[in-house]
């Protein structure tokens, strides 16, 4: 059993997706989905333990030796991302039970949970695979299910948002396929480790830089790096609450992981940063993302949209860390993957609670919610503090590493940008807090606190974002080791 964990991590949700689709009642479908989600969390955590002891695990699917067959190759970076996905899934699924029951028609429940599981297994598949074409296949599984889940939002703009995401996502995926094809034509292999060995021999050929460019553009489309982020704000804003919470904390993270994988494992640091001057492109873009998108977030009247723009800015932080190309920078990027998943998950879930009770997340509808929904808004404040980067929250830990990485390069101006970004986060979080706590609630409107089934998952993430902010040694440790693995190349 345990030697099959790498495959089971992905195929258990994949098997249970059609099972969930076949059961007639949404409650049963939910139970199936919940079992799958919790299983993946268990599987990924036990894999982490194994990898910390034994080092990277290789699993040959179909029993074929790589590069002839498809290999799962799980190192610390993969499993770290897989844990993020699995953990967010495990927390979202109890949340979805109440939230989806209200936002999605009951009879579509089984289909919804099938889509959810497909998305989950797609994301997990991307994070553990060691084969570049397999990445594309699982990327499509997760994307297609994500598009359909986003389109389920009550607002009709969910449809256009989903369509826009579909178009941009498909372009991104096609670019990735082109990149993979160009790599294949020069090396004759699709296995990541094999590519890493064979690419340097042909790196002088013009094809490889172009493959690199296409892969980078394709992945940045998927991860919504400024200025390719256009699909993200609408998609996050109009999707059902549970979907937003799940997608926002996982999908872009997995794309960042892909970026890391391609830059460091496959092309290698030397090629990516010295030959391709990657930092010269990513750094300015991420800085603009941080500043411009935070500024845009400040002017949003829809809080989910505000958070979505904040997500684009936060993605800027991750990419900024990666663009340094140093162990410290990549550590900052990786740790922010995890931390941002926690806080954004919590924030979007809190907004889901508001949506549940108030029926809108426009800022003016949130007047007095501090009194009416104290727990929800307290969770929002908790997540918001983390977004700002107040000490004892995960956001602080991220910033700690990021600023350090910037200072290590002697670029104090970038360190300043990070700080300015935090202050802008302060402003947009504050806008919401002020309305919720200082305006009197509308007395005609009876608003009640969200049910416990929504609050508990929300608070689980808030608590985690404080716990890992106070004791970050585990995450920092894993992230540092992961960064060292990446930069040190494949062992």
């Amino acid at each position: 059993m345990s030697e099959h964990l790498p495959a089971l991590l992905v195929v258990v949700p994949l098997l249970l997706a059609p099972v969930a689709a076949l059961v007639g009642r949404w409650k049963v479908a939910w139970a199936v989905a919940a079992a799958a989600c919790w299983w993946t969390l268990y599987a990924s955590v036990s894999l982490l333990q194994r990898i910390r002891v034994e080092g990277p695990i290789s699993y040959e699917l179909g029993g074929w030796v790589p590069p002839y067959g498809i290999e799962y190759r799980i190192d610390l970076v993969s499993i770290f991302v897989a844990i993020i996905v699995a953990a967010i899934g495990a927390v979202t699924i109890p949340y979805a039970r109440t939230s989806i029951a209200k936002e999605v028609e009951e009879d579509r429940g089984p289909l919804f949970y099938a889509a959810f599981l497909l998305c989950l297994s797609g994301l997990l598949g991307i994070s553990v695979t060691g084969d570049v074409f397999n990445v594309f296949v699982f990327l499509e599984i997760s994307s297609l299910s994500a598009y359909s889940m986003i389109a389920l939002g009550k607002d009709r703009r969910a449809l256009t948002a989903s369509f826009q995401y579909l178009i941009m996502g498909s372009v991104g995926a096609s670019f990735i396929v082109i990149g993979i094809g160009l790599m294949y034509v020069m090396t004759g292999t699709l296995n990541m480790a094999d590519l890493a060995v064979r690419l340097p021999e042909v790196a002088d050929n013009r094809t490889i830089p172009v493959a690199f460019t296409f892969l980078t553009v394709g992945i940045t489309l998927k991860l919504a790096l400024f200025p390719l982020h256009l699909w993200l704000p609408n998609a996050y804003t109009y999707a059902p609450s549970a979907v937003t919470a799940f997608i926002a904390s996982t999908a872009t993270k997995v794309s960042v992981y892909l970026l890391l994988r391609f830059f460091f494992t496959i092309f290698g640091e030397t090629f990516s940063y010295e030959a391709m001057q990657l930092d010269m492109v990513l750094m300015p873009l991420s800085i603009v993302a941080i500043l411009a998108m935070s500024l845009v977030a400040i002017y949003q009247a829809n809080v989910k949209r505000l958070l979505a723009f904040s997500s684009v800015a936060q993605i800027g932080y991750m990419v900024l860390g990666i663009s340094f190309g140093s162990v410290l920078g990549v550590t900052a990027g990786i740790i922010h993957l995890f931390n941002h998943a926690l806080m954004k998950g919590a924030l979007f879930m809190a907004m889901g609670c508001v949506m549940y009770s108030v029926g809108s997340v426009r800022i003016e509808k949130m007047a007095g919610l501090g009194k009416r929904m104290p727990w929800t808004m307290a969770a929002f404040v908790g997540g918001g503090l983390s977004l700002i980067g107040v000490p004892a929250t995960v956001g602080f830990v991220s910033k700690w590493y990021l600023v350090q990485a910037a200072l290590e390069q002697g670029s104090w101006a970038i360190a300043g940008v990070v700080m300015v970004g935090s202050l802008m986060a302060l402003i947009y979080v504050w806008k919401v807090v002020e309305v919720a706590y200082f305006q009197e609630p509308d007395p005609d409107h009876e608003i009640r606190e969200a049910p416990l089934s929504l609050l508990l998952p929300t608070w689980a993430l808030v608590a985690a974002s404080f716990y890992f902010g106070i004791d970050a040694s585990l995450t920092a440790d894993v992230a540092t080791q992961a960064a060292e693995t990446l930069i040190g190349g494949i062992q």
């Binding site: 980067g389 107040v390 202050l423 040694s473």
Partner: protein
Amino acid sequence: MSEGMLIGFTVLLPVVGAMAVLVLRATPNMREAGTLFAGVATFWHVLGLLYLVQEGARPRLELFEVVPGVPIVFEVEPLGMVFALVASFLWPVTTLYAIGYMRGHHEENQTRFFFFFAIAIAGALGVAFSGNLFTLFLFYEFLTFCTFPLVTHHQTEEAKRSGRIYLGILLATSVGFQLLAIIWTWQLAGTVEFMDGGILAGTASVGVLSAILVLYVYGVGKAALMPFHRWLPAAMVAPTPVSALLHAVAVVKAGVFTVLKIAVYVFGIDLLQTLATTSWMAWAAAATIILGSLVAFTKDNLKARLAYSTISQLSYIVLGAMLANEMGIIGGGMHIAMHAFGKITLFFAAGAVMVAAHEKKISRMHGLGRTMPITFGAFFIGSLSIIGLPPAGGSWSKWFLGMGTLESGQLGLLAVLMVSSLLGLYYLLEVPVKAFFFKPPEGSHHHEGIHEAPTTSLIAICVTAAATIALFFWPELWYDLMTMAVSGTGEVAP
């Protein structure tokens, strides 16, 4: 009880008090008794730690690591002891005052008030006992957030605006500058521990270290160095006990204490002397001293005047730190205590006038001294201390600060101190003089039926006023502690 446990206990006690407040919210008397009890107990524990420190020990409590190499750690050293003593002594006293004030003023949400009040003290003690920059920053921010509900206690439009300024400036400076400086320090020195003699010496060029110093000094927004002082007058919308304890003692002193601590334990006096920006910062402080006094002059609202006086006085301490010599730092450290007692007396008195006479404006206090002699008497004593005249404690700290300027040869700064004191003489003494010697305007009835403040408040005022005078006669404790801090050894300098 081990030393480490003792520290943990001391910091936690106010939190326990806060919990007690929540539990006992149904019966106000019990609730206030709980706070008082927690306050006295906290002070008692601080005294226990004081004993250890005087013995030359440095009790230490190390908790888990936040990021590898950066633990949350407490360490009690003499400078922190000064701050902790002041804060923990004045907490129960202020509670006593607040009981009378809040009831007399018919304030709402008293439970929330006492709750956050106690939590804030925990934050202040955390700052005082922090053993490294990270822990200090953690509690510094904690203090910012938990005092926010106190500032916006009234929840009016004005309170909201003030709260925005309060949080905005404090967070912006701390995140924008201070945190940057801390991470930079970690980057350079590989540690954020507070160590005798500093940790930064020799880690980078003078230019870089000078820049870090500027980041630190302006990054500690709670020290209210101009132009980052606006939050302090804004915070005066809070109920007077808050202004008194937090914005004359706990919060602002946390700021200047941070500056002192960074000067002594992160840079070290020797390094500080070599940095170009040290004297710039000294002059920035000097400018704030003068400007603060001048603005105080123009304010007719008593609390606003006291706020600007506080801004001015805080810069004395920053100035002391930036003089970068032993005398300056000793003076600065002592001024934490001296100013605290003096200023809290003034705030208490101002609050008493508000409760008893519903009067905020100085120009309308003519003749009030006759109906409220104790209050205005205490105000007079407090004023003396702030100005630096005997027989009040403030004269000692000013003396040492003056000595510090002489030692560094900065006569210009000495002149600044003199001028500021003269200004203080006017803008502070104007109040008791008007109250005692001026007649109430003819035909006005607004002083009729006015009595002294509520009894518990009056007791508090008397205690702080008496302490202010006592500090003049027995300043040894503070002097000894500061000498220990500066000399870096457990021994008391002669």
